[in-house]
């Protein structure tokens, strides 16, 4: 009887510890760390959350170093802060928790603005607008976005993206299947496990080049991204400095220069919507002024 009681007490203690570790207080994350800016200036270390394996935004080179458009931006920010940059590589889904728990000072990892996401973390103004397209197998009969709206269609996506919020209103009849990483979703497409995936055209083009003749992009964009730098809520000075930094980064042309260097052309920021995108976005996005809801 004593042993049984002891084991149940142990279980109860573990449960209590787990719940305590998750911060039972229902208060917002805001206010927990109000001096990120001061800390970075004092320690001369900027901790940046990023994801690897997301070319050309961020990749790991054979020598283990990170490289890419986002990585180059992080290094520029650190240089302007007179700080050493410390990269923390996480998964797509790990970006928001890393900010929520203050494991990183900022996230520069193709972090698109979405309404629900903006309730969890703060953003700077966007520094790029990647346009996303569906990618199908070359032999697939699907040629338009509308044709994907079928119960026979399974759309694969990586956790941590905004697809789970965008796709259901856009293609209500299609099934969704989530994978842990972008690479897994791509593998699922290549192996015929899913009908389509959706990524920015730059990544799609790279994938098509890597698998010649196997993949095809549906030439209708379904969303224009608003990629900004993510940061925890609660430090207004930090947000203000970063937002102004992004504004100046765009104004001086440095942004476009880096974009051209890593993406091979095109514009980092698109002022005009691709044809039909605004209408599709208005119908699909479950938030924001475009949706009218």
């Amino acid at each position: 009887m004593g042993r049984r009681l002891a084991s149940w007490l142990t279980v109860a203690a573990v449960v209590a510890a787990l719940l305590a570790a998750t911060n039972l207080g229902p208060g917002p994350v805001s206010g927990q760390n109000e001096e990120i800016f001061a800390k970075v200036l004092r320690t001369h270390v900027l901790t940046v959350g990023t994801i690897s394996g997301n070319p050309p935004w961020s990749i790991t080179k054979p020598n283990g170093e990170l490289d890419g458009y986002d990585i180059a931006i992080a290094k520029l920010i650190a240089a302007d802060l007179n700080a050493k940059v410390n990269f923390v590589v996480t998964s797509g889904a790990g970006r928001i928790p890393a900010l929520q728990t203050h494991k990183v000072d900022i996230v520069i990892a193709e972090l698109n603005y979405t309404g629900p996401r903006a309730l969890a973390v703060a953003y700077t103004r966007p520094y790029s607008n990647p346009v996303s397209y569906f990618l199908v197998r070359a032999s697939s009969p699907y040629r338009t976005i509308a044709s994907l709206n079928s119960a026979q269609v399974t759309l694969g996506y990586a956790l941590g993206g905004n697809e789970a919020q965008i796709w259901p209103p856009l293609l209500p009849n299609a099934k969704l299947q989530a994978f842990t990483t972008v690479a897994d979703a791509e593998q699922a497409l290549l192996s015929g496990r899913v009908t389509a995936t959706g990524e920015p055209d730059i990544l799609n083009r790279q994938l098509m080049a890597a698998h010649p003749g196997q993949l095809r992009q549906i030439e209708q964009p379904y969303v224009k991204g608003y990629v900004g730098i993510g940061l925890p809520y609660g430090d207004f000075d930090w947000w203000l400095w970063l937002d102004r930094w992004v504004a100046y980064f765009i104004y001086t042309g440095q942004n476009q220069k880096l974009w051209t260097q890593y993406m091979g052309g095109g514009s980092a920021l698109i002022s005009r919507e691709p044809d039909g995108l605004r209408e599709r976005a208005a119908a699909a996005l479950p938030w924001g002024p475009l949706s009218g809801r």
Binding site: V11, V15, L24, P28, A93, Q100, Q165, F179, T180, S191
Partner: protein, 224 residues
């Protein structure tokens, strides 16, 4: 603003969480059965008098015990389609966990049989029992008594291993939690709930094993 812990989340997503827990149990049960089947086959091969079979059994046990489950999950799910074989994600997970768990089960069975002394077999022969009678009436009861706690641990390990199936989109508990976390940014809430559910499932299993052990083997504990 989104808080780190939202108790209301569990009620809102109770159906998804319950479905995930049910899928975890189903996947765990199927994987355990598969691991027992593979384990018995592995043990028979490993202890075979025919050298090629024994070599194959050894190779199976060593190769599978020294490589991670995830490799087999990915290999079966993505790799088999390359050769025209297409199992569902659930079947791939059952096979992967079963094949890997089987290697451990084979070793547990082998170890337990080793614990049955040769005098027991000699005594059975002296009583004119046939080999199968010796196995069923003398060796198996003693072997099971030794193997049971380790097999219980293996069952729990397999059940917890089902979380890996989330990488190929099997809608078990971890997958459902990831989906909920992804759409609500309440990762801590859902993973805390996850931990509690896994803990409860394992505690229930542990109690069942203790009960079976007490009822079936209790009076003989310590005799082998």
């Amino acid at each position: 603003m989104v808080s780190l812990f939202d108790p209301a989340l569990f009620w809102r997503y109770r159906h998804a969480i319950a479905a995930g827990a049910a899928a975890t149990l189903a996947l765990g049960a199927c994987s355990v059965l598969a691991s027992f089947a593979f384990g018995l086959a592995g043990w028979r091969l490993k202890t075979s008098r025919h050298r090629p079979f024994a070599w194959f059994g050894n190779a199976y046990v060593e190769a599978l015990r020294n490589t991670p489950d995830l490799l087999y999950i990915y290999g079966l799910y993505f790799g088999l389609t390359g050769v025209g074989i297409r199992f569902s994600a659930f079947t791939c997970a059952v096979l992967a966990l079963g094949i890997q768990g089987g290697a451990y089960v084979a070793e547990i069975i082998r170890g337990a049989f080793t614990a049955v002394s040769n005098e027991q077999r000699a005594a059975a022969r002296a009583l004119s029992l046939r080999p199968w009678q010796s196995l069923v009436h003398v060796e198996l009861p003693q072997m099971l008594r030794v193997a049971f706690p380790a097999l219980g641990n293996q069952v729990i390990s397999t059940l917890l291993g089902t979380a890996l199936a989330s990488v190929i989109a099997v809608p078990e508990l971890t997958y459902q939690s990831q989906i909920i976390g992804d759409s609500t940014y309440q990762y801590f809430s859902v993973f805390a709930m996850d931990a509690v559910i896994y803990l409860l499932l394992v505690q229930i299993l542990t109690r069942v094993f203790h009960l079976i052990d007490h009822l079936w083997f209790g009076k003989w504990r310590g005799t082998v």
